[in-house]
Symmetry: D2
Subunit: 165 residues, 4 copies
């Protein structure tokens, strides 16, 4: 039995940052998502789109509207969005006010995938699994868990995501 197709929307974030050896700065080149799916030996039916490659601290209202548009227009009912962790909750909350009939899971990474110590691959496997099993709604998948968009926050001291009443 084939799996239901899942759409992956890439927006950048620490997940995809790279080190520019000439400037010593972190920056964006191409997404590593295809490479990560190969590493994970994913057998899922996926539609992957890169919407933007930015730090979520730089995300504007227009950027969020682009993400919303793509979610609304997606023929797939199950969507994973890779996103910077700093404003992931903001985007999740905004999406939740507009979309009720799709399962949307936002995830990201605290350490760039290109670093040896990245949580990116773990989070990607996690988010794709949650996208397949959770009922309609918007969720944040980080630290092995999922949180409904309306009750999650990023603890900026620990860098971990947690439930918020």
């Amino acid at each position: 039995m084939p799996s239901e197709r899942i759409r992956i929307l890439i927006t950048g974030g620490t997940f995809d940052k790279e080190y520019n050896e000439l400037t010593g700065q972190l920056y964006f080149k191409d997404s590593h998502l295809p490479e990560m799916l190969r590493l994970g030996r994913s057998n899922l039916d996926l539609e992957v789109r890169t919407l933007m490659m930015i730090d979520s601290l730089d995300m504007s209202g227009d950027d969020r509207r682009i993400i919303l548009e793509h979610c609304l227009n997606s023929p797939e009912h199950r969507i994973v969005i890779t996103h910077g962790t700093d404003t992931m909750v903001d985007t999740a909350k905004m999406l939740a006010t507009h979309i009720r009939d799709k399962t949307i899971v936002l995830t990201g990474a605290m350490v760039p995938y290109m670093f040896g110590s990245s949580d990116g691959l773990f989070n990607l496997g996690s988010a794709l699994a949650f996208a397949q099993t959770l009922p309609s709604g918007v969720y944040v998948a980080m630290n092995g868990r999922r949180y409904p968009a309306g009750s999650v926050r990023k603890n900026r001291e620990t860098g971990m995501f947690e439930a918020e009443s």
Copy 2:
């Protein structure tokens, strides 16, 4: 809201193999699971037990009974088992005939975690997510997907897991 505790039972498999530089052979030392959970920045409430560290081709009926015992005696209702991929389906089918009231997810890796190109971290995140959301039953989580124990097989040509009628 704290997450429901999940039990992880480690049995070895390619997931945990290491390279012995003196003999040139792959072998087992300590499990890398704790390290992988740290890398994934897991915030889950977990109880981790190492039952054995063996290649699943070397698994005997007694070994499988040990795994079964631990599943039956586990106070947790959600269990992830790391296991060699060669006979993962056999263990899954055996567990499914005896256990109906727990969510048990078996996973492993095609390439040792210690290799740069391992699917281990991806599979671990995937399995832990499935363990949190799937209803009671025994499943195999590989290649980003989950398969009920009664209808999955490992395709030995491709190394991928697929549904089997």
Copy 3:
């Protein structure tokens, strides 16, 4: 036959930068040099000292004097200095005006060791080898080659080191 002892002086640089997941910035913690020597399975007799952990763009005259002092006072006649690449040539030139009777090899990395794509391990093996065989003098060891301090520059377009007349 035991090898002649080599002194390694650590000053930081990109070589040792780490990613701070809470701030998204690169920063210094402990040097990775001991770990790199273990990875390289080094059998050399080494005396390792951390003098500072800074970006070489932040190096002051006082910092350079500290490096000079340690070189002058080193009982070992063969010294490797890990250093940021941006002002490595400046430090090398300064050392060359004061020291003539020791073999001093400066090296670093264009990409932090913690990144998968680092040149750090290659450069370390290279610099330690040059330190064992070159006659007295101050050298920069980068890109697999060594350059006398008086005739090397960093090409800021390519990030490579090259001979300069």
Copy 4:
């Protein structure tokens, strides 16, 4: 000033072993040497040839003769040979009886380059540096040091190379 061209002869060994996920065995595909030179950001003038890709335990007299032929016919006077560590000393000793006018440095790895904990990159940087500075002769470059072919052995307990009288 351009660097003198160095020839690299690839023969395989643990240096280049890969993990076959379908069979669970280590095997040879293509050499990773070009990739390692890119990682090390090598600026050396190099001529690279793959002679064979075998475990040095499987090396025959004919295989060694091929290596010898290529060394004798090499227009370059500085040669690095990547080789399995198990019989690296045997090949080195054989080459030393036939060649006196070239600098030949053999190196390898105790752990495959594809493993996270490989000494391959360190050894490659080391061997290339020794090849540039050592006088004519045949040497083994391992563990950060170099040993003349006539007085080196591999300690099979520790996996380290050491001088032998």
